[in-house]
């Protein structure tokens, strides 16, 4: 698919700015904005399942993002953060990470929220900033100790 199709210019007036039209089959919804925003919320829930869901169906998770060591250890710093799963390194998985980047770009362009709790070290690398010891501390206190 041509990715430039996902970069529409901002429409004038009250028309919602969407990169694609989301059709929720079997659900009676009006307008494009609501289903579009809901889709990103659903994707976020898939990427970051809560603890109960993780324990109930470990093998039925997307697994692209995993809880940070601090979250597993129940540390006070960065206890809600998720990190990229280093075990997911097949060509298909890399493609999925690439797609996650596309989704992030779409969110920036169309002003929709994709709530994912990545540590600030990830965001810093994305914008070319250097990582400090505090950034590592946010992910894994044990490593710094």
């Amino acid at each position: 698919m041509d990715l430039s199709l996902l970069r529409p210019s901002k429409p004038s007036g009250t028309v919602p700015h969407v990169a694609f039209v989301t059709v929720l089959r079997g659900e009676h919804v009006q307008g494009d904005g609501g289903p579009y925003r809901q889709l990103f919320q659903d994707i976020s829930a898939e990427l970051q399942p809560d603890k109960v869901k993780r324990e109930a169906s470990a093998e039925k998770l997307l697994g692209l993002l995993v809880p940070s060591p601090n979250q597993i250890d129940n540390e006070q710093i960065g206890k809600d953060r998720f990190v990229l799963n280093s075990r997911r390194n097949s060509a298909k998985d890399i493609g999925h990470y690439y797609f996650l980047g596309i989704l992030m770009g779409i969110c920036i362009r169309t002003g929709v929220c994709l709530p994912i709790d990545l540590p600030r070290s990830v965001w810093k690398k994305l914008v070319g900033q250097n990582i400090t010891m505090e950034d590592i501390l946010e992910v894994e206190v044990r490593f710094v100790k």
Binding site: S4, S9, F20, R25, L39, E46, L47, E59, K60
Partner: protein, 113 residues
Amino acid sequence: MLKTFNQYYKPAVPYINQADSFIEIPENALPMSIAAYLNCVKDLGLTPIKADLRYLILDKTSFKIDNPPKLYVERIKMAEVKDENEEVDEFGSKTKEGKQAESSDFIFTLAAE
């Protein structure tokens, strides 16, 4: 003074390197360019000017698209399948226990494909 500064800053802002640090360049070093030097005073730039820059970038890199792509999602069906699997798991059926996730189980993978 700030107002005058911003008057000249506004047309120059697309040419200023807005990064806080530069990879492979030591922290205290500064590349020899006007763009890099202007970066040091970027805090004096007013927020509306920076917001305008963001919109300018988005506008210049977007296209007029008449028929945007469509993504069909069957959330109800997906939820039903998920519920069925959970019910079977509760009764301990071996046919569905340990069933690996498929790409059709997730909206994310559906959208990616």
